[in-house]
Symmetry: C2
């Protein structure tokens, strides 16, 4: 069988990883795939560096369109990133009848509907295992491994930067800003870390998992996105005392009223496996009605872990290159004509439980007022922790922390109760509200 | 597209699960697969019970060969178990040109070479996701998700019964025999638990993973198999004090000299995720050269989790029913003409580290003699724990426990040193030796 020919757009960290791994493991991969996978062309603006990385046997060009125009190329790997030129090139490659492999979660989460429709029309595959959780084969697990199941919910640690920061904050008792600087120094966070720390990257990935799990179109614009920038060391400590860890979770869940799609910090019981995922590692919990709870863990980023996912997609495509649509796994797991129009719920309609920290005046009647407001709103309390004033503020302190864990209630109700509590004269600072997920 | 027709052999726990899940989630599965999957016939000796479970629309027969002889049937699901009639029926189904889905790890680990060769000849698929780790899509992860990797090692908790027993022994400080009885009472262990507690079931699964990971034939007869029946509560306690948990692991590893394939209890650092897998749950750690460490966790047994895996295989086959061999994933992950003849190493050639517990006379010079023997054999000590005699045996006791953790050495060397230590007059009871796996 003749080799399948690949053109690689973008010879950065992941591109070099794809090159390195394909070369190092070429025999192993050939023994599995039954045919050679050959990177015949590379496009990168820095042709000198790219040529040095690719070696002399590979044609390196500055203009990606030369790859797309080459009729010998079967598959285009897009590793440029972003929504701009990457989008244009992916669509052009599809129009030219190439299969596409991409790690570009932002592009697919925002423009996936357009891209998958174009691919469907042209009868080509767009594969994106590398777009979610790096080397963990979670897209394959969801699209193929769990096809028997009605997926109930997914909750994942799908951003390594923020998990590294949260792990360090807990380990060292430090505040967010301090740890972020350290993470940047160590290369775990980028110079502009906004997409990571504000939860946007995790939301891109959660959006893709949501589509695949429930057969809905990608709808990044409907995702609720909250990052970790406001988390304080004291909340991590209080959570610990109550038996919880705080993780940035990407969550998507099917309910009778619609689909939840949200990224935010959450308290998770410390005894859950996912609560023990530390550092830059990723993990995704998938709850299916037949299989029960499953978890997938590994490196969510990095050159070779991401390359591992890109190459797995290449092998899949090498096998199914000439197959007809019915023989291929649909892009979003469900057949295009069988997509669901279940709406994505507004955050105010989400039902979850909460951790609240109120900085209150240390005087009689405060607790009664706070619990009165919650009772009035129909929100029941699961646990409470009141610190002695002098433990929190030192001797003679006149304010203290009141920590409340609630049972499930609708976010809209909680918003109302929070506004009322915040208006109490004895509540001295903005209330901290962190959602709590039992993942049971 | 017309429905794909399935015949089910064996309407027991898993068979009923397949039936229930296929029915409950038929719309969801159809939306994914793009065609209906219909169980058209069921074979079970107890036709009355099977008919009641299957409903009136399904033909129930006592003679499985009626299913195999039916030209309308595309796929045969074998859920009978064992090596006898199950083997004959699987081979007959293959000869009749049917695809086969089976959860029968014992059959495939022992007779896989014959079965896969027959399937290859006839151009049919034999799918067995359900044979390893129940609902966890680990076969798919290994065969397809990690194709880019040279797999370095796999270590798994792949027997729920023994993990339940070990979890209970640790939680409650009880000895093996007591917990086994409890496990039998609760239905976590069978009336004859031999296959589970002696490690045979885990070895069947490890054998299958070994073949898929390294492209070698299934070779159950070469596996080293040691169960948990000799583990005492005190070893679990000592391990805990040293920062370890004891788990029954199925391990397979590629080394320069050959493949390791072994099942035995092992100390695992308590901080590893897999050390925290409790109760009847399963988890498999896979180390690949590109992806690094990945872990897959879920229910390893039970009606619906196993059915989840069986149905995922049905959907895969429904898609690739008419495809040619090059479009399908090879049975053992590697193309049949590209299998490796790497030998499986004898246990004496395995390199690992050890936990040793010596019950010794509480007198001067014992430690010097023991450490002298280890030094002579070139085995270096990683950590040591000597209990005060009265802590172990009460006041006035004249014997004590000496716990030694070693660094890596070859098993043959350890066997020699153990024999010498055992011969010391001051070593009062049989030495306990448990292997230790850092899984780093």
């Amino acid at each position: 069988m003749k080799p399948i020919k690949v053109g690689l757009l973008g010879m950065g960290t992941v591109g070099s990883g794809v090159f390195t791994v394909l070369k190092r493991n070429q025999e192993e991969i050939f023994r599995r795939a039954g045919r050679r996978i050959e990177i015949a062309m590379v496009a990168d603006l820095d042709t000198t560096r790219a040529q040095a990385a690719a070696g002399s046997g590979v044609e390196v060009v500055a203009d990606a369109r030369k790859i797309i125009a080459n009729p010998e190329i079967d598959i285009v790997i897009e590793l440029i990133g972003g929504y701009g030129i990457a989008k244009a090139l992916v669509l052009e490659a599809i129009e030219a009848g190439k299969h596409v492999v991409t790690a570009n979660k932002a592009l697919l989460a925002v423009h996936g509907t357009e891209i998958f429709a174009a691919a469907h029309r042209k009868g080509v595959m767009v594969a994106f295992e590398a777009a979610v959780a790096g080397g963990i084969p979670i897209i394959k697990a969801l699209r193929e491994g769990l096809t028997a199941n009605r997926i109930q919910w997914i909750a994942g640690i799908i951003n390594g930067t923020t998990n590294f920061i949260l792990s360090e904050m807990r380990d060292k008792g430090l505040d967010f800003d301090v740890v972020l600087k350290e993470a940047q120094r160590l290369g775990y966070a980028e110079a502009d870390p906004t997409f990571d720390i504000e939860g946007v990257d995790a939301a891109h990935k959660a959006t893709l998992m949501s589509a695949i799990a429930f057969g809905i179109p990608v709808q990044f614009d409907k995702a609720y996105v909250e990052g970790i920038t406001k988390l304080g060391a004291q909340d991590i400590k209080y959570a610990e005392q109550l038996g919880y860890r705080i993780k940035l979770l990407g969550i998507t869940k099917q309910t009778a009223k619609g689909i939840e799609l949200r990224v935010h910090p959450a308290l998770v019981p410390a005894k859950r496996l996912i609560a023990n995922v530390e550092g830059a590692m990723n993990a995704v919990v998938v709850q299916g009605d037949a299989v029960g709870t499953t978890l997938y863990y590994g490196k969510g980023a990095g050159s070779e872990p991401t390359a591992s996912a890109v190459i797995a997609d290449l092998v899949d495509i090498a096998r199914l290159h000439g197959a007809d649509a019915a023989q291929r796994v649909p892009h979003l797991a469900f057949q295009p004509q069988s997509m669901s129009d279940m709406p994505i719920l507004a955050m105010s309609e989400v039902v979850t439980s909460y951790y609240l920290r109120l900085n209150v005046a240390d005087e009689a009647g405060v607790l009664a007022k706070v619990t009165g407001i919650l009772a009035e709103a129909g929100i029941s309390i699961d646990a409470m922790l009141q610190r002695e004033a002098d433990e929190v503020g030192g001797e003679g302190a006149t304010q203290t922390d009141l920590i409340i864990l609630t049972h499930d209630c609708m976010e809209a109700k909680m918003n109302g109760a929070l506004a009322q509590m915040q208006a109490l004269p004895t509540v001295l600072s903005p209330i901290t509200r962190i959602r709590k997920e039992e993942l049971a």
